[in-house]
Amino acid sequence: MASYPVLNSGIMVDEDRKVFKVSRQAFVDPAILEAERARIFDRSWLYLGHSAELPKPGSFVTRQVGGRNILFARDAKGELRAMLNTCPHRGAQVCRERSGTAKSFQCFYHGWVFGLDGALRSQPGEASYAEDFKERGTSNMQQVPRFESYRDFNFVCFDPNVQSLSDYLGPAREYLDVICDQAESGMTIVGGTQEYSMRANWKLLTENSIDGYHAVTTHATYFDYLKATNGGLAPVPLKGSARDLGNGHAVLEYKAPWGRPVAQWIPAWGEEGKKEIDRLYQNLVERFGEERAERIALYNRNLFIFPNLVVNDIMAVTIRTYYPTAPDFMNISAWALAPKEETEWARKYRLYNFLEFLGPGGFATPDDVEALEQCQRGFRNSAEAQWNDISKGMGKPVPDYDDELQMRAFWSNWNKCVFQERA
């Protein structure tokens, strides 16, 4: 394996000359991934799942988050629980199903049984243990160190001393509000997870998920497709701005010509669609007034929450999270978020919008995968060709949606986490 020089910083910034460069070594060096695991994934709030995925007591899902196996369950009292999915006895994974409903969890190795809250209920051969063994609580399934929620988005953190989720999200909360306010009765996760992978560094997907600059060239065939659909698009040009939300979070907010199920009509949706979209829009006006209704309905948002959560409220709403397994490989999970009360018509068109653009079988994402994998290939030349450039829009008072401010926000925070010792 190639060995790399020790980096002291992954970025090179010169505000006067409007230069912002990122070291390509940051995408290939195993020592960088190791530092990211210790200083980013072990210390940041990480998305676990949505409350709607656990509709009733006993509902559970198992999920990998930050390299751990997590059992996410709703206990008998209806409280959400995030537990480390490992038996306190000898370590085996307790729950081996992806999702389901349970009355209790049993480790098959020696038969220990745990409640939905992780408390040890019984173990074979109890008489051979100390009398107060169960009551000690030291043989319960362990809860994650920190577990907090915002608007049904549930997060975990493996650093017990981390700031509150609310403080961590900061101004990003307001954007989650705008997205969740689409629904009157709350948002839900539509059945079906898109799980895929890329032979590329995980940070490439951070950049790509909030990159307004690549759409016209990378996604030329998607726009060809939209133009070919009967009736076509709304007469709305792509236009908007980018904002740094602090803590490495960032957002793009912009108008675009595609249909939004809440709530921008396009001619391709016909008269039935128009009635439904008008009704949804009117409902937003009644609940929030003209100005906020317009923002909710007609503006798109690509919201990035450091380090690896993307909530894109575009032609559909996706929640996307991704983890590195190696410097040049990541696993991605994506869900469709939708208003609970949505009509059959709107749900159908939402899902069509979703899979036309967002999915790994759609008309756009496969080309993103290709682009990111080609970047990773390009980085094989990183010993000589050392730097990426993300300076577009530097110095503008309000950077456009297709500038690179949001990437600079990510990389600045990334650099701080990886290279600065904590006070």
Binding site: R98, S99, V190, G191, G192, T193, Q194, E195, Y196, S197, M198, R199, T218, A220, T221, D224, Y225, A228, T229, N230, N331, W335, A336, E344, R347, K348, L351, Y352, F354, L355, E356, G359, P360, G361, G362, F363, T365, P366, D367, V369, E370, A371, E373, R377
Partner: protein, 166 residues
Amino acid sequence: MRMFTMQDIPRADVEEFLFAEADLLDEWRLPEWLELFTDDATYSVPATDVPANASPDNSLFYVADDRFRLSERVKRLMKRTAHAEFPHSRTRHVVSNVRIRSRAEAELEVSSAFITFRTKDGVTDTYFGSNRYRLVQVDGNLRIRDKRCLLDSEGLRMQGRVSIIL
């Protein structure tokens, strides 16, 4: 050659049709491949954590094409700007375990097992699962009214994408 009805068409003829379909895909003759589908045809690849008979109207799929979107998919894949497939990958669709599941008056339900290899840029990916077809006869020729690809893998890890037609 004797004409068969959907009531008595032998499995060998159905197999021949599916093998020919696979060849068209592997030879990148996608516009001809599209002609194997009826005007009201659908083609879908569900997510791997939904039931086999899930509907794309209320569950998330990887692919859920009506005939229009399917023809646009073919058009797209033949362009240089379909970056994921430019230059075209090489593929081999292996079709086996062909069974006629049921015969209605005008329609057959057929299932097959598939293993599809895709190779590009020195990387080879494998897709595997079963295909469920609803086949009809149009002007004496077998045609596909519905093709549903049920992936056996857990998601699309390692493949990362379904940029080809399965």
